[in-house]
């Protein structure tokens, strides 16, 4: 069986030519003490057919979101990635290339990433974007440490950043891991009863290195108060906004209301949910942060003939040059997924993005409307504008409700009690462009049945 190993069967010839007599000779430098003598305690090799059959059996047994009716989001969003994206991104020249260390033969990926930087930059309204971080959570975490690197000197609250108290705990956990090493303390910004940010709590954050809030926020709320944030915190505190990129087809670009750094899960543009990875983290910022920001950047340059050419630039920020003084340890990133993002954005165009945003928000509005008609449940922040998701307050625990809905083939949303203490009756219902009106009707009907049953 040659399969993946072209030299199977040629081992001895090759060894003899080198003057060896067995493969063991090539491992003679491994001291006896550490040699593994037994065969690996693993099952036998499989053929391609057997592997694919097993994969189909095992993965096929999973309940994919499209198999049922799903209202689960909470940071990742069901979307439609155009067919051309998959077919182009799997072209071997993209798929099987490495980091473009030799720009002369990597112009394709380099140019595509430079175009990605521009697409993101235009989307969020800031001049600089890197070519992806791991995901939205690490992008947010890196934004915090970056803000401290830039602002700590002038900060009155040194080594301190503030984040919205609504930030999902898993994301906060990532931030904590990234911040604790740098000795950064994370404090919290509070929100009003209606879900909007408490501007007076933001005032407390002035003088710190940065604040992190999300738009839409984790409750799905679009918060008009954000346009005042930059003024409140001032020039020496970074305003970091986490975004859902599709929302920016309707919602003002954060760069236009003072954001210094914009981060987010790029996933809705170009990538399936894929159990949470690989996806890509967006990281964009103003010039101030350029030399202390994390991640790779492509610059447009010229070749020796003066011809337009692209290459990696500002590498002295990176670990392979700066080692322990690097701005981040990131090496392998999510280029290929960012490329899918670029392809998706290219196909959408400005009007396509706007329409996609409209599909998301109108579906969300329809759901709010339909669920709002059920009087056994409440929508606590219903006065605000929502994008993708909103909280439903149930007459009993969201966990119970989800169990009931699961039994009728509906993934009803996310149990927000897992995020927020004392909110076990909060269900976060997510609606995307993939949600149909019938599915919304179905959820409404079942929620009505369940909640009536609970109350009775």
């Amino acid at each position: 069986m040659v399969d993946q190993l072209p030299n199977r069967g040629l081992e001895l010839e090759m060894l003899e030519e080198m003057g060896f007599s067995s493969i063991d000779d090539l491992f003679s430098d491994i001291p006896e003490r550490v040699r593994m003598n037994a065969q690996l305690d693993l099952p036998p090799p499989q053929s391609e057919e057997e592997i694919i059959a097993d994969a189909r059996r095992l993965l096929g047994s999973n309940l994919a979101m499209a198999d049922v009716v799903s209202f689960l989001g909470a940071g990742l969003y069901r979307n439609y990635v155009p067919a051309s994206v998959f077919q182009l991104v799997t072209r071997g020249e993209f798929l099987t290339s490495y980091t473009p260390y030799q720009p002369e033969v990597s112009q394709g990926m380099l140019q595509a990433m430079w175009e990605f930087q521009t697409l993101v930059s235009e989307l969020i309204g800031l001049p600089i974007s890197n070519l992806s971080l791991y995901d939205g959570s690490t992008a947010a975490a890196e934004a915090l440490t970056c803000a401290v690197r830039v602002h700590n000197r002038k900060a009155t609250q040194k080594d301190t950043v503030y984040i919205s108290e609504l930030t999902p705990p898993d994301r906060v956990s990532v931030m904590q891991n990234y911040c604790q090493g740098a000795g950064i303390e994370i404090k919290y910004l509070h929100h009003n009863q209606d879900g909007t940010i408490d501007l007076s709590s933001v005032e407390q954050a002035a003088g710190s290195c940065g604040i992190y809030v999300e738009q839409p926020n984790p409750l799905g709320l679009l918060d008009g108060g954000y346009t005042k944030l930059k003024e409140i915190i001032g020039e020496n505190t970074a305003l970091i906004i986490g975004i859902q990129p599709i929302s920016l087809g309707l919602v003002e670009a954060p760069g236009n209301y003072g954001a210094d750094i914009v981060v987010g899960e790029g996933q809705p543009l170009g990538s399936p949910v894929t159990a949470g990875g690989p996806i890509y983290g967006i990281f964009a910022c103003s010039k101030t942060y350029l030399r202390l920001m994390p991640g790779r950047i492509v610059g447009r340059s010229i070749d020796v003939d003066g011809k337009e050419a692209y290459c990696l630039t500002l590498s002295t920020r990176e670990q392979h040059i700066r080692r322990h003084r690097a701005t981040s340890n990131i090496c392998t990133n999510e280029t290929l997924i960012a490329l899918m993002g670029a392809m998706h954005m290219s196909l959408l165009g400005p009007e396509g993005l706007e329409h996609l945003a409209l599909r998301n928000i109108t579906a969300c509005n329809l759901a709010k409307q339909k669920l709002g008609e059920i009087n056994t449940i409440a929508i606590p922040h219903s006065s605000g504008s929502h994008f993708n998701e909103f909280i439903v307050e149930l007459p009993a625990s969201a966990a119970d409700c989800l169990k009931y809905l699961d039994g009728v083939g509906i993934i009803g949303g996310f149990d927000a009690g897992r995020w927020y203490n004392g909110r076990k009756n909060w269900l976060l219902v997510t609606v995307t462009d993939q949600t149909s009106a019938q599915e919304i009707e179905l959820l409404a009907a079942h929620l009505a049945v369940w909640s009536a049953g609970v109350i009775a």
Partner: protein, 499 residues
């Protein structure tokens, strides 16, 4: 030249979408949040988009287009079945918050991967959460940090890193707040045991080692190093980027390591996609297990009516380690990459050893062939081995210092000359301990014919004169790119007309 921002078709969208569920004018937003101008994105139809990205792809080099002996990157062939599997809805359309009973198949694969990696590495528990090697390092460093904190050993503030280590090692340790103690390596990049002894004391938390090292040599004193570190109560960390060299022949566990990361994308082949995605699971010994990020997958016999969801006799469930450091990525890591690597692993099973044996066979053969061809052509005076050794592991280095001195030909010249021959160049100028270094890693998926041909073509490049080589490459889409110009004249996005 096809430029994305030159496409300025009529208003519209490149792919049609269904209508909105409510009329557009029903939408009300806070006034100050209404977007004033749409992004100045280009406007392409699907035909234009397909052609643009096809054009770009044709200006890019990948393993599929040719030999890619980029040292330290393990550019092996990516079996195409992996891409098919990763698009099955049972992975592509799964949300990480779905309940366990929706995803028993996926969890069983995760469990199998945790188990397999534990077996291969000689560790006790594995987490799949880190999404790249560097993140694996950081995760392990954080676990060790919390481990010591839990024991009250707050004085352990140092991490020892040989100067030949990959940049992510010190960067990751520094991110966790450790002080980096860089120790000089021996000439061949191996650990200088005496230098190590000189710096160890009870302030050392961790030593990070890559084995085989970046020169492709096995650290034969590795057990001594482990003993020394352990003798002062420190921990040993194994950078698994070079796992491809030793899998099935030895293991970090046997060498005395306490924690290890895998560059899953290298050893188990997730396509590198121009720089990512990757996947960087870590394995640890028992004493560190409860510090791992959660959740990890554990199994137990099924009970009650679980059988209707189960894929076998076991229930696969999420488990939260008691003293977990928390999360390093918000979800479950790069599951899609894990699935591809699972498919890759299944093809070898216990035969994974064959993979590393062929990787080492090919590296040694290429080294041999380069010397052989150089001798045949009478240019053996132009390079020397980067390290003096009888055998290399999965990669090796050459020093072009003689060529530089005698003929003014640098490693970079040779690299660019190789591009003209249709190859990706080996890694150049790394590791720094070797002057005019070229680092070759053929991987196990290259045929002898390819290695022989490359050796011949490499010599052909060496036989060119210096002036010719300074001009190389001349056959590539662009010629030598001015990286200094790029840095001095920063142009990081398309300059719109008004800019």
């Amino acid at each position: 030249m096809s430029r994305l921002f030159d496409f300025a078709g009529a208003e519209g969208m490149g792919y049609s979408q269904p209508d909105t569920l409510l009329p557009a004018d029903s939408v009300t937003l806070p006034k100050n949040l209404v977007r004033k101008d749409l992004p100045r994105w280009p406007r392409l139809s699907e035909p234009e988009m397909v052609r643009h990205y096809t054009w770009l792809s044709r200006r890019n080099y990948g393993i599929d287009t040719g030999f890619y002996p980029l040292g330290s990157c393990t550019m092996k062939h990516n079996p195409r079945i992996n891409e098919v599997i990763a698009q099955i809805p049972g992975i592509a359309d799964i949300h990480p918050h779905q309940p366990e009973h929706h995803i028993q198949g996926l969890l069983s694969i995760f469990h199998e991967m945790q188990h397999m990696l534990a077996i291969c590495s000689g560790m006790d528990q594995v987490t799949l959460q880190p999404v790249a090697g560097a993140q694996g390092e950081f995760t392990a460093v954080r676990c060790v940090q919390e481990y010591f904190r839990s024991r009250g050993e707050h004085q352990r503030t140092k991490v020892i890193v040989p100067d030949s280590a990959h940049g992510t090692n010190p960067a990751s340790a520094a991110m966790a707040g450790f002080e980096i103690i860089e120790i000089p390596s021996l000439e061949d990049g191996r650990i200088d045991i005496e230098a190590l002894k000189a710096v160890v004391d009870d302030t050392v938390a961790l030593m990070m080692v890559t084995n085989p090292n970046t020169l492709g040599l096995f650290e034969n004193d590795i057990s001594d190093a482990s003993d020394i570190i352990h003798s002062v109560g420190g921990q040993m960390y194994y950078d698994g980027a070079n796992f491809n060299a030793i899998l099935g022949r030895t293991s970090p566990g046997l060498m005395g390591f306490d924690a290890v990361h895998f560059n899953l994308h290298k050893t188990f082949s997730q396509p590198h996609g121009g720089g990512g995605p990757g996947s960087g699971p870590i394995g640890v010994k028992g004493h560190l297990a409860e510090f791992l990020p959660g959740p990890i997958v554990k199994k137990r016999p099924i009970v009650g009516d679980e059988a209707k969801f189960a894929v076998d006799e076991m229930w696969y469930g999420w488990y939260q380690p008691a003293n977990s450091i928390g999360k390093v990525q918000q979800w479950h890591g790069n599951s899609g990459a894990v699935i591809r690597c699972w498919a890759y692993y299944r093809r070898y099973g216990y035969g994974l050893k064959d993979m590393s044996e062929h990787a080492v066979l090919n590296a040694n053969y290429l080294r041999h062939a380069l010397h052989r061809e150089a001798k045949n052509a009478g240019v053996e005076d132009m390079f020397v081995d980067g390290a003096n050794t009888h055998v290399a592991k999965h990669e090796f280095t050459l020093s072009l210092q003689p060529a530089k001195e005698k003929y003014g030909i640098s490693a970079m010249d040779v690299a660019k000359g190789l591009l003209d021959q249709g190859y990706m160049a080996p890694t150049v100028y790394f590791p720094l301990v070797v002057p005019e270094c070229m680092m070759f890693e053929p991987t196990e998926t290259e045929s002898r014919d390819t290695l022989d041909q490359f050796a011949k073509d490499f010599i052909k490049v060496l036989q060119q004169d210096a002036e010719t080589l300074h001009e190389a490459p001349i056959t590539t889409p662009v010629r030598r790119v001015d990286e200094v110009y790029a840095a001095r004249n920063l142009c990081l996005r398309h300059p719109f007309d008004d800019e």
